[in-house]
């Protein structure tokens, strides 16, 4: 059960999210799909609104006051995000991108092209999201290196028996901090330490982890971290790559255009300083303002409170699902809730996940059904699709109860 203080705090903060007031008033609404995208507190929407009404101009270009103001808003968001994840040099080590996917493509093309040859090995895991698989596969087609994969076991935990041998061959390790399907929290601090013993650089996918856990890149020991804003109360259209300054310095630019250059002649160009050399074109400025506000909101609630709330709700959900659905449900991923985040993928006996999600929708319960952009992982699980419920700070036990009730209804519909 959630501790009383945490639950109290959660009850109060749901009213900070306009969507719950708007939709819940008209029909039942149990939003259990924050792992796909989270909802926005009013402060985020207001920050974007304020920016558009009072502060909009292009950044890094104009000398007039308004342009300087917009630049300040954008650069403040960068510094805030840097501090949020414990970057050493917040104003230089954060590259804004469109999302985590673009950040991972930037690492593959920017770092991979400098570091890898046809002889190289890249080590990934079988539980990666397509965003941390396909960019490497695209680069592999260009350079012809080898990709190896760390497998996972029946509980959804990485199998590390051959880790050292694999790391010995590898130049880059790409690993997700938290699986978007299994919920597994990977032991990335340990993996980084081992990787560095073999001179392997670690590229971490933080899309699921950073929104839910206090993140400190030096504690994690990773070299690059991909983040996406829209899973952490912030708008879509913006994400970031964090990397240590010396790595960003080594990386080649990925997208070319304005802003990323310091000089262009007819016979070539000179790239701008980091992080600007990776930010070609006009960036998502209002989105950065929204993200800045979201970070402030998360800090105010406290990342430790959020993690504790996620965990107690996950625990409650695992118990309810098992007790009330029993052998009618299969839950994937670690049974131990201390080894997972607030994501539960499951299969309801003989009911396809698509049908599960459809019946749940009729009850106002929003869950994701499908392969969750992790087809290799699904093949390992031996399923084509799963249904997935995921939790965030605005969810409560009522959401879980509604989920279980609706699942029982779906089961009945297909078995009577």
């Amino acid at each position: 059960m959630a501790s009383v203080e945490v639950t109290d705090q959660i009850d109060k903060l749901r009213s900070d999210f306009p969507i719950f007031a708007d939709i819940r008033a008209s029909r039942p609404f149990y939003y259990l799909d924050s792992a796909a995208s989270s909802q926005h507190p009013a402060v985020v929407i207001d920050a974007m609104d304020r920016y558009y009404r009072h502060s909009h101009a292009n950044v890094h270009r104009g000398v007039y006051g308004l342009a300087e103001e917009a630049t300040g808003i954008y650069e403040n968001a960068r510094k805030h995000l840097g501090r949020f994840i414990g970057a050493n040099d917040p104003s230089h080590e954060i590259v804004f991108t469109k999302n985590a996917t673009e950040a991972l493509n930037l690492v593959a093309q920017g770092l991979g092209r400098v570091l890898l040859t046809s002889e190289s090995h890249v080590l990934l895991t079988e539980m990666e999201h397509h965003a941390n698989l396909v960019p490497w596969m695209i680069l592999q087609e260009q350079l012809g290196f080898t990709i190896e994969y760390l497998p996972f076991d029946a509980e959804g935990l990485l199998v590390l028996d051959d880790l050292d041998a694999m790391l010995e061959r590898a130049s880059i390790l790409g690993v997700t901090l938290m699986s978007n399907v299994l919920g597994t929290l990977n032991p990335v601090a340990m993996l980084s330490e081992r990787a560095h013993q073999h001179d392997v650089l670690v590229v971490a996918d933080g899309a699921q982890f950073v929104p839910h856990f206090a993140t400190d890149v030096s504690e994690l020991g990773v070299d690059c971290l991909a983040i996406t804003a829209h899973k952490m109360l912030a708008p879509t259209g913006i994400g970031a790559l964090w990397a240590r300054a010396e790595i960003l310095d080594r990386m080649q630019p990925f997208l070319g255009g304005g802003e990323m250059i310091s000089d262009v002649r007819l016979d070539g160009f000179t790239a701008n300083e980091i992080p600007h050399k990776f930010e070609a074109g006009t960036p998502p400025i209002a989105e950065a303002a929204g993200w800045d506000a979201a970070l402030g909101y998360l800090e105010k609630v406290g990342m430790a409170t959020i993690s504790a709330h996620d965990r107690s709700l996950t625990n409650y959900a695992m118990i309810q699902l098992q007790e009330r659905l029993d052998d009618r449900i299969t839950i994937f991923g670690p049974p131990d809730v201390t080894k997972r985040g607030g994501v539960i993928s499951f299969e309801l006996a003989d009911v396809h996940p698509h049908d599960v999600a459809q019946v749940l929708d009729q009850h106002g319960v929003c869950v994701r059904a499908g392969h969750h952009c992790a087809k290799p992982l699904m093949r390992q699980l031996g399923v084509g699709a799963t249904a997935r419920a995921s939790f965030y700070l605005y969810n409560d036990e009522q959401d879980v109860d509604a989920l279980v009730d609706a699942l029982l209804d779906a089961y009945r519909l297909f078995h009577d």
Binding site: P353, H354, D355, Q358, V359, Q362, F414
Partner: protein, 151 residues
């Protein structure tokens, strides 16, 4: 009927639980075709045995939701023994019923005597994401038949 009951009609659930014409066909006149729905991971393989422009037998394997599986099962019954031209007409009627051909505009009221049990899939119209599930086996069959005719 609420929308959900309309989607999950008795016939749909029956064909989902007991799909007809399951299995594999082999031989020189068999045209096998795989189809995928990348959105949800549904997979279907259609084996159409075509002789003298007639679909003499059809078998299906795959995995998917109740809509794609029952649609495949219902389709197999509807096309077995029909000429390719008749099959094409059935496909076109089916697609008009669930309004997938944009130019056709609104979903059409179908003549139940012509469309038969396929009418059970009409409820999917109200669930636009599910239309792709319903059409997957049909589109896959069309590719198999084009292949048969090209040969």
């Amino acid at each position: 009927m609420n929308d959900l009951d309309d989607l999950y009609r008795e016939i749909i659930l029956d064909h989902y639980k007991n799909p007809r014409n399951q299995g594999v066909l082999e031989g020189p006149t068999v045209h096998a075709q795989e189809g995928f729905n990348p959105l949800c991971g549904d997979e279907v393989t259609i084996y159409a045995q075509v002789e003298d422009d007639v679909v003499v037998d059809i078998k299906i394997t795959g995995q998917g939701c109740s809509i794609s599986r029952s649609s495949a099962s219902l389709m197999s019954q509807a096309v077995k023994g029909k000429s390719i031209d008749e099959v094409k007409a059935t496909v076109s009627r089916f697609k008009r019923m669930i309004a997938v051909e944009e130019s056709e505009g609104e979903p059409e009221e179908v003549d139940l005597r012509v469309i038969g049990e396929l009418a059970a899939l009409q409820g999917v119209v109200k669930f636009p994401v599910r239309i792709k599930c319903a059409t997957l086996p049909w589109n896959t069959l069309m590719i198999a038949l084009e292949d048969a005719q090209a040969r």
